[in-house]
Structures are given as structure tokens and as C-alpha cells.
């Protein structure tokens, strides 16, 4: 095994304990590469179970594994490549408090094969706290202005790690040293009042789903916004006053009970004529449904979703999932009905799944290449060639310098990084009279700053959750000390009070 490596390196490889975070597309390929390179001491963690749509690229899984733990099956399959390899699997979230600094310190290198930023940020902080090198990887999408569908232009593999020996400040950039672009969001008024593209209708449909079956979120209101200046005056008012004569359907929501109410929009909505349902051949996902078909699907999936919800008992809620058939049917039908009303092109269930599920068409070969690069970088770290480590980007087409793989020298840490600098600082602009303690904790400290178990120096007991920050004397220039015990991370937050801010998402 690994006859390409010299004896000393082989010994190092054999003795090094590696953590693989994530057993999905990249994770499966990575486990195979590690075992075949001669690594025999590996731990793998993933909270997911295997879905049928994983089988086309997560090659360690078979049909009979659907529903089972990814980490466990990946371990069993990879172990067959080398029965001497000792692999431990955890069917769990890496963000659970069970995996503290002690856990991370067991490893020589941590390799991320994750699909979400929250977990990436968390592992970054854990590795900083444990002083263990981290190799990050991922595939990136590139949404172009002109299209609704995500297009992969480049799939990137990024590497970040810090010097094993340095204590205060790392040798290289950490994952959070540079701000990452946030996911594309749309202004509320576009979603609620003036959709012009299919994606606006899809987002609206997802919001409606959450309003009906999921967690209530005031940011996801679906009714027309009367305060919207674009709709001020006649248009907005009449939209709410006109009765059913235009036959445009608006869904109004009362708590968890559903009522279909017919009102009308004045601008644009066209009347609702049922097209005859043609029995066109083809796969259900691939053909455009007629409005009649959308309506049928809508009425079929409603009782199903309602039943799912009531199964959960009092206070239960559904979480929208693109792979849940009824949930996906609901969004397809609702989005297309809304699109039809506004004269926007309708889309196939297949396309809507892409957009609603933010599906990045990651493919087996990209994952294979990235997982190969991960091991190459890992070998450099383990053999002490940290200066040779690179961030490597995989292009779809070679660049003018003929490079398909583009290795870049690792950047120095950002001295102002709000995570890895000596004294992490961050400024938060908000309206202290409008933001409650609960919103500060849930949406800002956990949601934006990605802490897991934050402790802020205000009395944040349950009874205070709905009080505004100003009730605690927090004003412009106030400084809050925020501490996350699990991440071993302390952050000073400076509050800048602004009366008019956009709603915090």
C-alpha cells in the first residue's frame, strides 16, 4: 500500500489520527483515499442518513443502505478497502457539546467535508481552540445575474490551517478571516407584492409553507405589504379591498389553520382559467404542469402535510425539505400558481427543486478531485512541509495560464479577524429599542456570529427574552462581552444604535 511514499512518510501516515467531518459527496471519496493512502486511524462524523438521491455520487452507499447513518455505512464500506484500518463513526452533529476541545485534540489533522457554513465556522473555532490544523474543502456555486439556476463556474477547494506550534496567533488565515458572501436574499416587498421572476414565487411558496406548517417568522410574511411604497395609494389599497371577482388566489393564513381566500391584486394578476390537463408523456418532474395539475397537486398534498403536522402533536412543526415529496409538491404547486397569476413563467418541479433547495449540481468527479487534493495537502502537513501547503481551486476550464488546478499561497491571518485574532471584536448595528434579548441571541449571536452556546453579560433568563435591549440600558456604544464555552471563544460586541435598520435575518 502506498508504495509511492517513502518508509518514513508511510509510518507517519500509518500512525496519524485523522478526523473526517462529513460523510457526503466529498467525505465518501475522502475516506476511500485516506484508507488507500495507508491511513489506518480515522474517525468520521455525520448527522445525516442516506437518501436515494445520494447514491449517484456517494459511492460508499448502496440502495439497501437508504435510511441508515452515513457515517456508519461509510465506515463499513471504506474498511473493506483495508480491513486493518480502524475507523470510528459517529452518527451525530459535530456541533454537539459532546465534541469539545478534548475531542479535537486527539487528531493530527482535521479534514472538513461539510455542506454548510455554520458547521464550518464551528469546526474552525474548535480547531483554533484545540490548536489542530484544519483542511477545509467545498464546492462553490456561482449564481449569475442572468439566470435563476445555479451554475457551477468554479468548484473550489480551500485550505486553511494554522501553525501547530504557534500559540497566540496562527501562521495562516483561518476560515473566518475573510467575510464570506451571504446567501442571496430578496427584499420582502418583492416577495410579498411585486414578484417578477420565478425565484420570487418559489421563495414566497417556501415562506407560505413555513407559515402554515413550520416555525412562524415575521420576516416570512406572505400577505401583501401595505406599507410598501411601491404599492402605496391605489394599487395596494385596492388589492386588499377588491373582492373575489378577479379570481386571483391569495392564500391567507390564520395561525395553523388554513383558509383559502380569494382576493385580488390590481396590477398584473390575470384571471385564473383552468387549462385542460393534457396527459403529456414524460417524467413528472421534467414536464411543466398545467394550472389544473398544480391545483390538483396542491389539494392532494395539503391533507398529507396536515396529517404529518398533526402527527407531531401539540406545538409540532414541519421543516421544509426538498427531498420530502409532499413538501416539494406543495412548493411547486404554490409557486407555479403564483407565477401564473403574475404572468411569470412557470417552472418544472425539477427546476423548482434546484432553486428552492439551493441544489448545487455537485458531481462525482468534482468531489473525487477535491478529495484527492485534501489528502495531498494532508500529506504536506503531516510531513512538516507546511510552507508547501496551498489553497487549491479547481476551475471548470483552464485559466489563461493553462491552470485547471490553481494552487495559491496561504494568506496570513487577518489581524482584525473576529474569530482568530488575539482580541476578537465585532460591531453590530441595530435598533436597541426594537431588538429583543431573544432576537439578539437567536438571530445575531447564534444566527450571524455562529456561536453555539453563547453567554452574554446581560441577565438573559427566560423572563427577559422579550424585553428590548434598551430596557437593560444598552445604547449606542455599549460593549457586550460574549462567551461561548464550547467553542472556547470570547467576543466583544460593540453596539451601534440606529433607529432605522433593515430587519435582521
Amino acid at each position: 500500500m502506498a508504495a509511492s511514499l517513502n518508509e518514513k512518510v508511510r509510518k507517519t501516515v500509518n500512525e496519524s489520527k485523522i478526523l473526517v467531518v462529513g460523510a457526503g459527496g466529498i467525505g465518501c471519496e475522502l475516506l476511500k483515499n485516506l484508507v488507500l493512502t495507508g491511513f489506518t486511524d480515522i474517525e468520521v462524523i455525520d448527522l445525516d442518513t442516506i437518501d436515494v438521491s445520494n447514491l449517484n455520487r456517494q459511492f460508499l452507499f448502496r440502495k439497501e443502505h437508504v435510511g441508515k447513518s452515513k457515517a456508519q455505512v461509510a465506515k463499513e464500506s471504506a474498511q473493506k478497502f483495508n480491513p486493518d484500518a480502524k475507523i470510528i463513526s459517529y452518527h451525530d452533529s459535530i456541533m454537539s457539546p459532546d465534541y469539545g476541545v478534548d475531542f479535537f485534540q486527539k487528531f493530527k489533522v482535521v479534514m472538513n467535508a461539510l455542506d454548510n457554513r455554520a458547521a464550518r465556522n464551528h469546526v474552525n473555532r474548535m480547531c483554533l481552540a484545540a490548536d489542530i490544523p484544519l483542511i477545509e474543502s467545498g464546492t462553490a456555486e456561482n449564481r449569475t445575474e442572468e439566470t435563476d439556476l445555479p451554475v457551477i463556474k468554479t468548484s473550489s477547494f480551500t485550505l486553511s490551517m494554522h501553525d501547530i506550534s504557534s500559540l497566540i496567533q496562527g501562521l495562516t488565515e483561518c476560515y473566518e478571516c475573510q467575510p464570506k458572501p451571504t446567501q442571496k436574499t430578496f427584499p420582502g416587498c418583492t416577495i410579498r407584492n411585486t414578484p417578477s421572476e420565478p425565484i420570487h414565487c418559489i421563495v414566497w411558496a417556501k415562506h407560505l409553507f413555513n407559515q402554515l406548517f413550520g416555525e412562524e417568522d415575521p420576516d416570512q410574511d406572505v400577505s401583501p405589504d401595505t406599507e410598501d411604497p411601491e404599492l402605496a395609494g391605489e394599487a395596494g389599497q385596492s388589492a386588499l379591498q377588491t373582492d373575489a371577482k378577479d379570481d386571483a388566489v391569495v392564500f391567507t393564513v390564520n395561525g395553523n389553520s388554513m383558509e383559502k381566500e380569494t382576493t385580488a391584486y390590481t396590477s398584473r394578476p390575470r384571471s385564473f382559467t383552468y387549462l385542460s390537463a393534457s396527459e403529456s408523456a414524460g417524467i413528472r418532474d421534467q414536464k411543466l404542469w398545467t394550472i389544473q395539475e398544480c391545483a390538483d397537486v396542491f389539494s392532494n398534498c395539503l391533507p398529507k402535510l396536515k396529517a404529518e403536522l398533526s402527527q407531531q402533536g401539540e406545538g409540532g412543526m414541519l421543516v421544509w425539505d426538498k427531498d420530502d415529496e409532499s413538501a416539494m409538491d406543495f412548493v411547486t404547486a404554490v409557486a407555479n400558481i403564483r407565477a401564473y397569476i403574475f404572468g411569470i413563467q412557470t417552472k418544472t418541479r425539477f427546476d423548482i427543486k434546484s432553486m428552492a433547495g439551493n441544489i448545487i449540481p455537485a458531481i462525482a468527479t468534482t468531489n473525487a478531485i477535491i478529495a484527492g487534493l485534501l489528502v495531498m495537502e494532508g500529506l504536506k502537513i503531516l510531513t512538516g512541509n507546511i510552507d508547501k501547503c496551498r489553497t487549491v481551486y479547481l476551475n471548470r476550464q483552464p485559466n489563461p495560464r493553462k491552470k485547471l488546478l490553481v494552487p495559491c499561497i496561504l494568506d496570513k491571518p487577518n489581524p482584525k479577524c473576529y474569530v482568530c485574532s488575539a482580541k476578537p471584536e465585532v460591531t453590530v448595528i441595530l435598533n436597541t429599542q426594537k431588538i429583543t434579548v431573544k432576537v439578539l441571541e437567536e438571530k445575531i449571536i447564534k444566527g450571524q456570529l455562529n456561536m453555539v452556546a453563547p453567554d452574554v453579560e446581560i441577565d438573559d433568563g427566560k423572563e427577559n427574552a422579550d424585553k428590548f435591549l434598551s430596557d437593560f440600558g444598552i445604547k449606542n456604544g455599549s460593549r457586550l462581552k460574549c462567551d461561548d464555552f464550547l467553542q472556547n471563544y470570547e467576543l466583544n460586541i460593540t453596539i451601534v444604535h440606529k433607529r432605522y435598520t433593515f430587519s435582521m435575518k
Binding site: A2, A3, S4, L5, N6, K32, N33, L36, T37, V52, S53, L55, N56, R57, F59, T144, E146, T147, D148, L149, T194, S196, E197, E230, S267, I283, R284, D285, Q286, A339, G343, I344, Q345, F350, S354, I359, P361, I363, A364, T365, N367, A368, I369, A371, G372, L373, L374, V375, M376, K388, R390, V392, R396, Q397, P398, K402, K403, L404, L405, P407
Partner: protein, 300 residues
């Protein structure tokens, strides 16, 4: 161009991600020669892509890297039975022979190999037509009408349009036997990936010894590689620093992550050739695991 085949709902679910990328086009028949580290990666990648027919061919024992002298790839078989042939672990005389047979029968040809930290991929797709999606420039929407009412924003029906491009490829023989002493070639040398020259040495070794460099004869093979290197530099009138001397230390066996990288690129190129979507890499991809470079170049 391609025949439309029907697929079942189950298959559609299974190949969801692939269809998103490559469309529902029909599948082609692929012959894969040589199933070692790189061949296994390529096989895995193209099977995952949903290719319907893959034939594996390997004459060797798994344990010993034996001579690959007699390749029984029959002219008639290749031409009649396959749309694509991918040859790994073959010596250059065999590769050139298979390539020529493929070219005569309009079969797409790929070759690849991994030697330790180094690897390459070559492709000869003959005259290849492929479609590319080019985003259309966005028309400026008129946001306001004369009366101040927000105008109806036009819904987008066609965001992209497809263009079809034709690309011509060279035979492997031209690429490997290229004359590097002509004034034009001399200018190109500096920009040519050094892995190309490393591959030339290794391929020469295989032709000469009817086998790959082997760990069991490591010392002797390294010496021979060093001699071949010198000879190549002299023959092509190349400067000594163009081809690092210690490459010989890093070219034994197949390093798994290198197979994954080269096999990923090679697999993707086969999928592109099948689907006739996106520009293929014409005609080499080189990976050098000692410096992390992965380069595409047109040689020959």
C-alpha cells in the same frame, strides 16, 4: 445528434444531479483498458455518471506489474462495439496503435496514467462537436412608466442560449513525437508543463522495458530513468533545469489521491465527450503532486 432514450422515474431520482448537469441524453458504450488505481477511479466516476455500458479489460494480475506486450485489442472490436475507448497503464506503442484504430473508426480516444506523484490524461476526440450554454446579456428592464406606475417586469423566458462549436484533435503520435527543436517549438518549451517531459521519460521506460518502474527493482529503475532523462534532454536540446532530476524518486506505484485527481479529470472529460456538452480539454492534462500544479496544454 443523440438519440433520446426514455428513463424511468426511479432512474430520474437516482441520477437527479447528473440530469441537472448533463441533461437526459442517451448513454454511450465505453471500453476501459487497464483497471489499476487510475482505471478504477475512472470506472467509478463514469458508472456514477449513469453511463449505460462499460466494458473493462485488463490482462494483468493484480499483484504483479507485468509486461503489457500483447494487447488484444482487435481493430474490428473497437470500431464496431464502442463509442469511447479509454486506455490506462499502457506503453506508448500500444497507446498509439489503439489511438490510430479509434481514429479510423471515429471512436473517441482517451489515455491516462499515474506514476507516483505524477499523472496525465490525453484525449483525441477526432473532430468533436459540443454545445455550450452562453448567458444572454440582460435587457434593461423599464422600471417606470410615464404615469409613475411600476411597469410590469418582463418575465424571463430564455435566460441562456446554446452554441455549438467544433473542435479538432491531434493523434497521440503527433503529440509524443513532436519536434521540440524548431524555432516555434523552442519558444513554447518554457510554457510547456514539465510533467509532459517527465511523462515522456516514463513512457520511454515502458517501451524499453515492457513494464512500469517497479518498487521491487527501485534502485536499478531509478538509474535507468536518470539515463533516459539525460538522453531526452540531449535529444530535444533542452536545458537541464527543465526536468528536475529527483522526479525518479517520486514516480513509483500509483498514489491514491493522485489517481483520484487524474481519474476525476479523465472521468469528467469522458462524460463531456458522451454528453457533447462543454468545451473538452484539448489535448493534455498534467498533474504534478510535488508542486500541486494541474495544467491543460495543447501539444503536437
Amino acid at each position: 445528434m443523440v438519440e433520446q432514450e426514455t428513463i424511468t422515474e426511479d432512474e430520474a431520482a437516482l441520477y437527479d444531479r447528473q440530469i441537472r448537469l448533463w441533461g437526459l441524453d442517451a448513454q454511450r458504450r465505453v471500453l476501459l483498458i487497464g483497471v489499476r488505481g487510475l482505471g478504477a477511479e475512472v470506472a467509478k466516476n463514469i458508472v456514477l455518471s449513469g453511463i449505460k455500458s462499460l466494458t473493462l479489460m485488463d490482462h494483468s494480475q493484480i499483484t504483479e506489474e507485468d509486461a503489457s506486450s500483447q494487447f488484444l485489442v482487435n481493430r474490428a472490436d473497437v470500431g464496431k462495439n464502442f463509442d469511447i475507448v479509454c486506455a490506462t497503464c499502457c506503453k506508448p506503442t500500444d497507446l498509439i496503435r489503439i489511438n490510430n484504430i479509434c481514429a479510423q473508426n471515429a471512436v473517441k480516444f482517451f489515455a491516462g496514467d499515474v506514476f507516483g506523484f505524477y499523472g496525465y490524461m490525453f484525449s483525441d476526440l477526432g473532430v468533436h462537436e459540443y454545445a455550450e450554454e452562453v448567458p444572454k446579456p440582460k435587457a434593461k428592464p423599464t422600471t417606470e412608466q410615464d404615469n409613475g406606475e411600476p411597469a410590469v417586469k418582463k418575465s424571463k423566458t430564455e435566460e441562456e442560449h446554446e452554441t455549438v462549436t467544433s473542435m479538432a484533435f491531434k493523434r497521440l503520435k503527433e503529440a509524443l513525437e513532436m519536434d521540440w527543436t524548431t524555432p516555434d517549438a523552442v519558444k513554447k518549451i518554457k510554457k510547456t508543463p514539465n510533467t509532459y517531459f517527465i511523462m515522456k521519460v516514463l513512457l520511454k521506460f515502458m517501451d524499453k522495458n515492457e513494464r512500469r518502474p517497479a518498487t521491487t527493482s527501485r534502485e536499478g529503475d531509478m538509474e535507468q530513468l536518470s539515463t533516459l532523462r539525460k538522453q531526452l534532454l540531449e535529444d530535444l536540446k533542452l536545458k537541464d533545469d527543465l526536468l528536475i532530476e529527483d522526479f525518479a524518486e517520486n514516480c513509483f506505484a500509483e498514489l491514491s489521491p493522485v489517481c483520484a485527481i487524474v481519474g476525476g479529470v479523465l472521468g469528467q472529460e469522458i462524460i463531456k465527450a458522451v454528453s457533447q456538452k462543454d468545451a473538452p480539454h484539448n489535448n493534455f492534462f498534467f498533474y504534478n503532486g510535488t508542486d500541486g500544479g494541474g495544467l491543460v496544454d495543447n501539444i503536437g
